[in-house]
């Protein structure tokens, strides 16, 4: 019996052993075959020391002026340094350069954590003028507004001004008579992404024409899509588009003037381009037969990023000059002083302190009434970097005291300031300044979108806020639209995204006179 029981125990134990072996084996296999999860690398495997000031000056200076550390808040510097090195890598500079990490460390050590925008100081009293506002939709389908330029011009009637509008979304130039009770827009010409339009009698036939600077592309590009189009005015009030220049980078502005005192209008062209293309061009008018206009281009400045090229006699020598605002990394305003023969001498009117200054527009105007043309200048471009509000953006007055460079007077801090024009808004005989802003991302702040800088004494301005928060204004013009002696405002809107309520593309701020 004992032997039998012992044998039984052995078998039970064997069976149990098999089960345990299988179970244990299974567990073992599971553990053995499951690979350990990969861990993420925790810290960089090597370190880099900060670049020296000399190294940073040298590497940045290869392309542009040295950007001071306080031009960006600390957290953005790495991205900026990376952009710089991307350019460097594609360039032909053979300078020895420090590592990008060492340059980033240099800036991170010196940059402020934030760049606070100071609260503006307003004039104690009320705004000296009252306004009545109207919003105009452009004809056609219900599109998101993308106006690039507005102008107050005399087209067919010397007494009745019209509002001239460049519509980037619709690829057209339009005009409206503000007295028209039905607000009927006339499409004057269809062109490729018009950036700027000026009225001029180019061929001298007594009929007003329109010169259009065409970007040729809605988006930034180095493609040679820019052109200068002449909308030739016909006797029946229509316009015939004639391309005077194409196959160049994006064109932002064109102006006509008789620089050679020969009775012919030559052209100056701001070919903005983008990163690789772009120049300032002079087009000499050699036309003898206007059925075949002949303009011969010549590069007068090979820097890209030209925005505006207004014409005037800057140095008072009787010869016409022009001024170019050259943005991008250059951020420079240059006077091209005419010698009366189609050649120019260059003088720097003013250079921005760093390549991220964001130049956006200029107007030549004698702001303080000293009979010399000054430069009214805005720097508020945020379409490149919109990550933060820039406290150095706003409206500047570059006073012409007869010497170069001009004397710089900051007039108002205004992030996103895109255009400023001078006009006598309060009717007191001196010029005031109107400025508008374009800020697609307001960072949740309530900011001025239209301001009036009232000139209270020659060269002294006080600030009034005309409108807040609607920072969709890319351009503006001021002039007497109704023959009442008052300066009324025309403001053009540019909405980059559709996720906003659609508003009129063009706004009229009708000046109702003194409060």
């Amino acid at each position: 019996m004992n032997a039998v029981c012992s044998s039984r125990r052995v078998w039970w134990m064997a069976a149990a052993g098999v089960v345990v072996a299988i179970g244990g084996g299974a567990l073992f296999l599971r553990e053995a075959l499951t690979p350990p999860p990969t861990s993420l690398p925790s810290t960089p495997t090597y370190s880099v020391v900060e670049a020296t000031s000399e190294e940073v000056h040298e590497v940045c200076g290869a392309c542009h002026t040295y950007p001071p550390a306080d031009s960006f808040p600390r957290h953005l510097w790495r991205h900026e340094v990376k952009r710089g090195f991307d350019f460097l890598r594609q360039s032909r500079f053979d300078i020895p350069y420090p590592s990008s990490e060492s340059v980033a460390l240099y800036y991170e050590k010196r940059a402020p954590v934030e760049l606070p925008v100071p609260e503006p100081t307003y004039a104690p009293g009320p705004c000296p003028a009252r306004f009545e506002t109207t919003s105009w939709h452009l004809p056609g389908e219900n599109k998101v507004p993308a106006v690039s330029n507005v102008n107050i011009v005399h087209l067919s009637d010397a007494k009745q001004p019209e509002v001239l509008v460049c519509d980037m979304r619709g690829n057209r130039v339009l005009a409206l008579k503000p007295n028209d009770p039905f607000n009927r827009w006339r499409v004057l010409g269809e062109v490729s992404y018009p950036a700027h339009a000026e009225v001029v009698d180019l061929d001298g036939d007594g009929i007003k024409d329109i010169l259009v600077a065409c970007l040729g592309s809605f988006y930034p590009t180095d493609d040679k899509v820019g052109s200068v189009v002449w909308l030739k005015g016909e006797a029946d009030g229509t316009f015939t588009p004639i391309t005077l220049l194409d196959g160049i980078g994006r064109v932002a502005d064109v102006q006509a003037a008789d620089f050679r005192k020969c009775g012919k209008l030559d052209l100056v062209v701001a070919e903005f381009g983008w990163l690789k293309t772009g120049e300032v061009l002079y087009l000499e008018n050699r036309t003898t037969d206007w059925s075949r206009p002949n303009f011969v281009p010549r590069v007068v400045d090979d820097r890209h990023g030209a925005i505006h090229v207004p014409v005037g006699d800057i140095d008072g020598d009787g010869n016409l000059d022009f001024v170019a605002l050259i943005s991008q990394e250059h951020e420079t305003i240059v006077a091209f002083l005419g010698r009366g023969d189609g050649t120019f001498r260059k003088e720097t009117i003013w250079a921005g302190p760093h390549p991220a200054y964001g130049s956006s527009g200029i107007q030549l105007v004698d702001l303080n009434g000293d009979k010399k043309l000054d430069v009214l200048y805005t720097n508020g471009d945020v379409l490149d970097t919109s990550e933060f509000l820039k406290p150095y953006q706003g409206v500047q007055w570059l006073e012409n005291r007869g010497v170069f460079p001009f004397t710089h007077h900051p007039l108002a801090v205004m992030p996103g300031a895109h255009r400023a024009v001078a006009a006598d808004i309060d009717g007191d005989g001196d010029l005031d300044v109107i400025a508008v802003s374009l800020l697609p991302d307001r960072k949740g702040r309530s900011l001025d979108s239209i301001i009036l800088l009232e000139q209270t004494a020659p060269g002294t301005f006080v600030r009034h806020s005309l409108e807040k928060d609607s920072c969709d204004h890319i351009t503006c013009a001021a002039g007497d639209l109704y023959g009442d002696g008052r300066a009324h405002l025309i403001i053009g809107d540019f909405v980059p995204m559709k996720n906003r309520p659609l508003s009129g593309a063009v706004r009229l701020w009708k000046n109702r006179g003194h409060r």
């Binding site: 299988i22 599971r30 993420l40 659609l502």
Partner: protein, 442 residues
């Protein structure tokens, strides 16, 4: 016979006893096997639901395929294949599932997920909404497939919305974080994208695609050292991957380590002869090192590989002119003039198509982007972009074209060619098969 005696082995023959024990062992083995498979399938499903394709594959490998688990095994294999974007394999596995249990709800859901990941998202969105009430984790998994589909189609805002929704169901879901990060990156919200990629990489540390994306974004945002650390680790795992080698080489150049960069670029060329990115970097590097002859050599190879490479032609023309070779420079300039026109044509098409996608053209009208005409525009664009060596952009527009007209054979054919060129034969086969499907041109 007393009952007790029945259980006494002494009454049994030795052979019978052995039989009983063997049976016991077999039953135990089967039970353990089933338990083993269930455990690993459950684990695998859990990992796949989080987007951990590699972890799910490990679990799948450990499954023994015991009959009772065959359906689940195929289903898991289909999920893994979908996550790896091997749609052909995923389809085959789902067909195997269908033969076993055609009515299974999980099979239907996985089919929806696969369709969504391929870009056909509508049904999956509706199902996710239903599942969201009772099975939030299943809804999140489906929404991830939807987000992946939207990314493929180039509808980035919708990808963002669906990934965000998945994260609402399962907070910190790594796959959802990855898709949201990808959408944010495409929308230019780079800091948010970086945070999402970090979250995804921490949750799915073995996903090489996520780590590569994280490294590339770190590089873009100017964190070279951290990016290099990730990329060096990835290089150990995938020593010949062109994206890893090229990104790493560019970073080394920025870190003033030209020799190491050059070595990496040569290594890249040794495995991917005439890789356009490597040739361009080597050409510009040679120029900076005052070696114009070498630069010309690389540029000639580059334009032979990509005849529409505008920058390559421009630089070569400049060098030919500087080297006193005006005839060659002139010939190149003539070709550049043609290329300029072609680049403008293609970029104009992009502007037009981008405006249509953004909906700024006519917000109130019927979306044009859902029409065969848009698909045709997308194909035109893709052909032009491919000729210029802009392969990734070309693929994006092809997927947009496919979303507008899903059964178009021509689009599938172009996608098949594109994936073949990009070294993804699985997806190339998948699209080639659809290009030959009887539906034909739509």
């Amino acid at each position: 016979m007393a009952w007790s005696s029945i259980f006494c082995p002494s009454r049994w023959s030795r052979r019978l006893t052995l039989f009983v024990i063997a049976s016991l062992a077999i039953v135990t083995l089967i039970a353990v096997g089933i338990g083993w498979d269930s455990y690993h399938l459950r684990e695998g499903r859990g990992r796949a639901a989080l987007g951990d394709s590699e972890g799910a594959v490990d679990q799948l490998r450990l499954c023994m395929g015991i009959w009772a688990g065959r359906f689940d095994r195929h289903l898991l294999a289909a999920q893994v294949a979908r996550l790896r974007q091997d749609f052909e394999e995923a389809e085959a596995e789902l067909d195997a599932c269908e033969r076993l249990r055609p009515q299974a709800e999980t099979l239907a859901d996985e089919r929806l997920a696969l369709r969504a990941a391929e870009g056909d998202v509508e049904m999956a969105k509706q199902r996710a909404w239903v599942l969201g009430q009772t099975h939030p984790s299943s809804a999140a998994a489906l929404l991830n497939a939807v987000a992946a589909g939207y990314i493929l189609n180039g509808d980035v805002p919708q990808a963002y919305v669906n990934a965000e929704e998945a994260l609402r169901y399962v907070p910190d879901h790594p796959e959802a974080a990855y898709h949201r990060g990808h959408a944010r990156q495409l929308m230019g919200k780079l800091d948010g994208a970086l945070a999402d990629y970090r979250l995804a990489a921490a949750g799915l540390p073995r996903r090489q695609d996520i780590r590569l994306r994280l490294a590339q974004l770190l590089s873009q945002l100017g964190h070279p050292l951290e990016a290099i650390t990730y990329l060096e680790e990835l290089r150990q795992e995938l020593p010949h991957d062109p994206d890893i080698l090229l990104t790493l080489a560019r970073l080394r150049l920025d870190e003033a380590e030209a020799d190491e960069a050059q070595r990496l670029l040569q290594q890249l060329l040794s495995h991917h002869r005439d890789h356009p990115g490597a040739l361009w970097e080597l050409a510009t590097l040679a120029l900076r090192q005052k070696q114009p002859t070498e630069a010309q050599g690389y540029l000639r190879r580059l334009i032979a590989r990509v005849p529409g490479h505008l920058d390559g032609h421009v630089l070569l023309a400049q060098l030919a002119s500087e080297a006193g070779n005006p005839e060659e420079a002139q010939k190149l300039r003539e070709w550049i003039a043609k290329l300029d026109r072609e680049v403008i044509r293609v970029n104009r098409l992009i502007d037009r198509a981008t405006t249509l996608v953004a909906g700024t053209e006519s917000p109130s009208a019927e979306p044009f982007t859902a029409s065969p005409a848009f698909a045709s525009l997308g194909r035109d664009l893709a052909v032009g972009l491919t000729a210029q060596g802009r392969d990734e952009e070309a693929m994006l527009w092809l997927h947009r074209a496919l979303a507008a007209d899903p059964k178009n054979a021509a689009t599938h054919r172009l996608l098949a060619d594109g994936y073949q060129r990009l070294g993804d034969p699985g997806r190339a086969r998948w699209h080639a098969k659809r290009a030959q499907a009887p539906v034909g041109e739509s």
